[in-house]
Amino acid sequence: MAALQEKKSCSQRMEEFQRYCWNPDTGQMLGRTLSRWVWISLYYVAFYVVMTGVFALCIYTLMCTLDPYTPDYQDQLKSPGVTLRPDVYGEKGLDISYNVSDNRTWVGLVHMLHDFLAGYSPASQEDSINCTLEKYFFQESFRAPNHTKFSCKFTADTLQNCSGLTDPNFGFAEGKPCFIIKMNRIVNFLPSNSTAPRVDCAFLDQHKNARPLQAEYYPPNGTFSLHYFPYYGKKAQPHYSNPLVAAKLLNVPKNTEVLIVCKILADHVTFDNPHDPFEGKVEFKLNIQQ
């Protein structure tokens, strides 16, 4: 600091700085003697140890106050996000394009779907139970093993033509690709009052393409069965997997880029948040070359 004031020659400054670093007259280095340095360091060490302790204590107390099963607040999770597989992102959002005749362009996409559905094989779902109720599966108590709650099975074969079992190419080869739509988990979220939430895909810019989008949905009607809800959180339902809906797009015009939006229609799912393109819906660009 001493070197920062007024005009001095460079050598003067250097000399001053040297003297500041080591002053042989007083035995000071950097303005303090060795013992002074020890003292001040000790003080700071002690101070920081105490502060670290205080911080740790605060975090510990915080953790103690948290409910292990449900978060205290879900201010940002009013409505679930929706994601799409395969997910290839372009400059702005999802952007999927491939050439039907060139399988190198779509083999990656297919691979992505296979990878994704690997988590839905009967083997990986074996800790879950079969549910058929089509009603909300409320569980008050922890009846499942290890003090957890039951999760419902969702196996890939539910997706039929888009399961990759019957058509390992997921329809990409014939220009009628399957897309898998997944709704994000939110603890204790109930998507609708009574009817099951349904996926509906459409062209975003409808008027240009006179024909509306035709799609086959799997499971039939494109619904997420209600028995997958509510989600009780990772600790209560360690084996929970999101229900899926596959949409097989049948009449995508070739060699043009189309914008497709898949919305989830349910009472408590909103898709009109202008800031969040993935809330309650998923939009993607699709360009199938031939």
Binding site: Q5, Y43, L62, Y231, K234
Partner: protein, 1058 residues
């Protein structure tokens, strides 16, 4: 040299010497304390000697100044005869110049006005504000933002505009604070503008054989001008014909005695000779005709003024301190920035991200609002000072006064009232003291004696001064009088004691009068008495005491005439000596009742033939006058003393008067002696006195001239009480420079043009608002509107207070920088979601923190700041190591911890426990991940995370804000407990706290929906999470202060007191 205070070879002192040695070579009216004459004689050695004195200090750099001085001495028009003059200037004293000639000359030489000091162009001033201080760092930040955007854009054309916005915001911050600082600066200069506007002066000039009134700036060399009493002399003029003209050269020479003028060439030196009138001096009485010989900047005054403008402006101490502080902060910002840039790069962050971190670090480190706050704080003090009659021209000067360690004060007008006042009376063999306070209200001397009755009659009648009519409601001492200084003093004195003097004069009709002239050295008048039974005429006379005594054969004691014997003459001399030794101007008074048989009522007095006796009169008494010190000055000087400020008197006046005034105001304290005093007391030669015994020194310009800088340094260090007398403007400059060599912060007070170079050179120049000349006001940094020295003490107090309070403000502002910086560092190293955004930081720095930091300026002093030494320029820094360490590493760190606790609380309660947050950064910020899992298995889209991140910003912001409230409270004091200081004494602090909370509430709840600001609503309980930390900060600081108070000088005190 110092040994002999009264070197006889100096002709100027012959006026005083007679008094002391009883020589009979009196040549003037009384103890004439005239300045002009003498001061010029000091310099008279015709330049060469003057240069010798200056040589050591000026020679290397100030050659041009020498040139100017030489020019001044080249003036020889006073030696020329009128014919030669007419020839030289191509004019005619009867017809004057012709209009065409005048117009030509005007075009050639320019108008007759002083070139105003060179102003920095407004645009330069403005740009300076734009790049000064932290601005440059913020510009770098802004440019980095745009560069980052440029890189982003070149990689991906649809990249977000966030960086552009941030860059613009930073630029906007710089520009706004720049505009603000410029506005503040301009406002304070505008106050001055009113002073600079002078009423256009008119001059009566003879042109084309006609008398014309023209604006004075149209005058040209060779013009014939007429001046009369009350006029300001419009240019340097050679006087051609004079009728009883006296001029006031005080603004040129610092002496208030009126100087008689004549048309004769009386001295070689142009400054000395009586036939020259100087530009801007005032003609007090009489009339004169003169020829303009110099105009505008070529006048003597113009040359002194340019001498002043040649003196560079010193940087104010506070400017140095702020620069020092900016350097520290900028150093910290840049080094941490670069360090973490390197860390970020080596942690395999992209260069682009690293640049963005760098911006964040810079923004977090720079207290954007602080310089504006400092400006506001200073201007608040300036306003407060203005209310106390100190007008501050340069905002930074507010503090300078506080660090002042030496005040070089002019005598006339600053320490004294600048008017002659009756101080002592001697009659009935006794000296009486008259009240010299500003209102004269308390005249306690014995007025019962018959001698006083006679004396008062003489005072009243033998006086030509008169009050200007229409001033009945004005207090006597404030009334305007037509007449010279001593007559004015006598008039006011008698008016106060006797009542309506004019009425008394009317009753005692004046039948004849001989006004004072330099040959007679007395003034007499003959009156009819107001006693209807007494038909005698009364002749009253006053004049130089020796002259009066010569004319007397009797003396009045207790109202009875007694023959004047040797004893009474001795008594007279003793009294005369004593009063003269006090530096006072003494007048003798005598009278004579003319016998009615010789001088019947019808007698015609002829003043030319003097057909009446002027000897064998009756001596009545002596009266001595002085320009008395202002009544507030002694107290103020004492206060300065106890505040560790050395008060030095620097005057153009005579040493004896200077010493007398210095003694009476305490500049030389009652028990200190000069070397000469000791010599006199011990009856030994001056050389034999041990110089160490003397505390005080009276040094004349003559002695100063022969001193080397080393000797001057020695003098300044060895004597705590110094009076410089008979000094020239150049010598004042040398004295100021000498003081500055001692590392002192020097304040100079003055009013005359002669003071202006020193005012400029001083660290703070203080000009007198009423008596001050425009040149002095121009050169000064501060103006005392009431000309009261005591106002300086107020200024010192305010200056010291503001220094202390600025320390607190800076400590307050610096503290949160760590809390703003840590998030970035943790973000880079640990990979948490960014805890606080750059924009949010700006909202703290320029939003919630501004009013509180200004509020600290209203804090009262902790202890008596006037009882401690002025701060050491180099040692007592505004921002020292302790302040930085304590703010950054103690309180700042606690704030960071507290704010992080709030942050973690928000995240944890929303679903992200601290454990998952670590190293989440890449996924968190990845726009392709829209199902990021939290601790509960919930999945978040990008926007949902972003929103949570903003909530985190808001939480962190609130955390800092809450702890800044505690910070604000602890900063109220540095040593005392808050409870000693009073929690509620400074109401503005609470306004500040309220403003903090309200601004935060508005940002969170009012503007929570504006996405660009990245604020969100926050659950009410999060506002209280940091409160325990705020309390902890308070407690910690109280403990710190307690230990400082308990163990002064201890390790703790040294390391913890800032």
């Amino acid at each position: 040299m110092k040994g002999d205070p009264f070197p006889v070879e100096n002709p100027s002192w012959t006026n005083i010497v007679p008094l002391l040695s009883f020589q009979k070579t009196l040549e003037i009216y009384s103890v004439e304390l005239s300045g002009t004459k003498n001061i010029e004689q000091t310099d008279k050695g015709n330049g060469k000697e003057k240069y010798r004195g200056l040589k050591n200090c000026f020679e290397p750099k100030k050659n041009h100044r020498k040139e100017e001085l030489r020019k001044e001495l080249d003036l020889d028009d006073h030696k020329l005869s009128i014919k030669e003059l007419e020839k030289k200037y191509g004019t005619n004293i009867i017809t004057g110049l012709s209009s065409t000639q005048a117009a030509e000359l005007l075009a050639q030489n320019g108008p007759n006005a002083l070139t105003p000091p060179k102003e920095t162009p407004e645009i330069i001033k403005f740009l300076k504000q734009m790049v000064g201080g932290f601005s440059i760092l913020l510009w770098i930040g802004a440019i980095l933002c745009w560069i980052a955007f440029g890189i982003q854009y070149s990689m991906n054309t649809t990249s977000s505009l966030d960086n552009v916005y941030l860059g613009c915001v930073l630029a906007l911050v710089v520009i706004l604070t720049g505009i603000f600082a410029y506005y503040q600066e301009a406002k304070s200069t505008n106050v001055m503008a009113t002073f600079n506007k002078m009423i256009p002066q008119q001059a009566l000039v003879i042109r084309d054989s006609e008398k014309k009134t023209i604006p004075a700036d149209q005058l040209v060399v060779g013009d014939i001008v007429e001046i009369k009493g009350g006029d300001r002399i419009p240019a340097d003029i050679r006087l051609l014909s004079v009728q009883g003209c006296k001029v006031d050269n005080s603004s040129l020479t610092g002496e208030s005695e009126p100087q008689p003028r004549s048309s004769e060439f009386t001295h070689d030196s142009p400054l000395e000779t009586k036939n020259i009138g100087f530009y801007s001096t005032t003609c007090l009485e009489g009339t004169a005709t003169g020829m303009v010989i110099n105009t505008g900047d070529r006048t003597v005054i113009g040359q002194i003024a340019s001498l002043a403008s040649g003196v560079g402006n010193e940087k104010t101490p506070i400017a140095i301190e702020i620069q020092h502080f900016v350097h520290i902060v900028a150093g910290v910002a840049v080094s941490i920035g670069i360090l973490f840039f390197i860390i970020a790069v080596s942690l395999k962050y992209q260069v682009l991200d690293s640049i963005i971190f760098l911006i964040g670090i810079i923004v977090a480190n720079v207290p954007e609002g602080l310089l504006a706050t400092v400006t506001v704080t200073l201007s608040l003090t300036a306003k407060r000072l203005a209310k106390k009659n100190c007008l501050v021209k340069n905002l930074e000067a507010v503090e300078t006064l506080g660090s002042t360690s030496i005040i070089c004060s002019d005598k006339t007008g600053t320490l004294t009232q600048n008017r002659m006042t009756v101080a002592h009376l001697w009659f009935d063999n006794q000296i009486f003291i008259a009240d010299t306070s500003e209102d004269h209200s308390n005249q306690v001397f014995d007025q019962s004696s018959g001698t006083w009755a006679s004396l008062s009659k003489i005072i009243t009648l033998c006086n030509r001064a008169e009050f200007r009519p229409g001033q009945e409601s004005v207090p006597i001492m404030k009334r305007v009088v037509v007449g010279d200084a001593s007559e004015t003093a006598l008039l006011k004195f008698s008016e106060v004691i006797l009542g309506d003097v004019m009425e008394i004069r009317k009753r005692n009709h004046k039948v004849a009068e001989i006004p004072f002239n330099s040959t007679n050295k007395f003034q007499l008048s003959v009156h009819k008495t107001d006693d209807p039974n007494d038909k005698r005429f009364l002749m009253v006379m006053k004049g130089a005491p020796e002259r009066i005594l010569e004319k007397c054969s009797t003396i009045m004691v207790n109202g009875q005439e007694q023959p004047l014997d040797k004893n009474t003459a001795e008594a007279f001399h003793t009294a005369y000596m004593e009063l003269g030794g006090l530096g006072e101007r003494v007048l003798g008074f005598c009278h004579l009742y003319l016998p009615a048989d010789e001088f019947p009522e019808t007698y015609t007095f002829d003043v030319d033939t003097m057909n009446f006796p002027t000897s064998n009169l009756c001596f009545v008494g002596l009266l001595s006058m002085i320009d008395p010190p202002r009544s507030t000055v002694p107290d103020a000087v004492t206060k300065c003393r106890s505040a560790g400020i050395k008060v030095i008197m620097v005057t153009g006046d005579h040493p004896i008067t200077a010493k007398a005034i210095a003694k009476s105001v305490g500049i030389i304290s009652a028990n200190s002696e000069t070397v000469e005093d000791i010599a006199k007391r011990l009856h030994i030669a001056v050389e034999q006195v041990n110089k160490r015994d003397a505390k005080a020194a009276v040094v004349t310009g003559m002695e100063l001239k022969d001193m080397s800088p080393e000797q001057l340094d020695e003098l300044l260090t060895n004597y705590p009480e110094i009076v410089f007398a008979r000094t020239s403007p150049q010598q004042k400059l040398i004295i100021v420079e000498g003081c500055q060599r001692q590392n002192a912060v020097v304040a100079v007070t003055g009013d005359g043009v002669n003071d202006s170079p020193a005012l400029k050179k001083a660290d703070i120049g203080i000009a007198m608002g009423i008596a001050g000349s425009d040149a002095a006001k121009n050169a000064a940094d501060m103006i005392l509107l009431d000309d009261n020295f005591a106002s300086i003490v107020t200024g010192v107090e305010e200056g010291r207070l503001i220094f202390d309070n600025l320390k607190k403000t800076i400590a307050y502002t610096l503290t949160k920088n760590i809390a703003e910086l840590c998030p970035f560092l943790i973000y880079i190293i640990v990979g948490l979601p960014l805890p606080i955004g750059t924009i949010t930081i700006l909202f703290i720095d320029l939003g919630t923190d501004i009013i509180p930091s200004i509020a600290l300026a209203y804090e009262k002093a902790e202890s008596d700041i006037m009882n401690r030494k002025p701060r050491h320029k180099k040692k007592d820094r505004l921002v020292n190591q302790q302040l930085a360490m304590y703010s950054y590493l103690h309180i700042g760190l606690m704030q960071a911890v507290g704010a992080f606790v709030v942050y973690f609380t928000v995240y944890a309660q929303e679903g992200f426990k601290p454990s998952v947050l670590i190293n989440i950064r890449v996924e968190w910020e990845n726009s392709n991940v829209n199902d990021l899992e939290d601790s509960y298995g919930q999945q978040w889209t990008l926007y949902q995370r972003k929103y949570l991140e903003w909530m985190g910003y808001t939480a962190f912001f609130v955390g800092i804000m809450v702890q800044q409230i505690a910070d604000l409270i602890i900063r109220k004091t540095r040593r005392n407990s808050i409870f000693q200081q009073g929690l509620f004494r400074n109401k503005v602090i609470w306004v500040g706290i309220a403003s903090q909370i309200i601004i935060a509430l508005i940002l969170s709840y009012g503007l929570g929906s504006v996405t660009a600001l990245s604020f969100t609503m926050l659950r009410p309980q999060y506002w209280f999470v940091a409160v325990p930390f705020a309390i902890l900060i308070w407690v910690y600081d109280e403990v710190r202060k307690l230990f400082i108070r308990l163990y002064p000088g201890s390790w703790w005190d040294k390391n913890m007191y800032y």
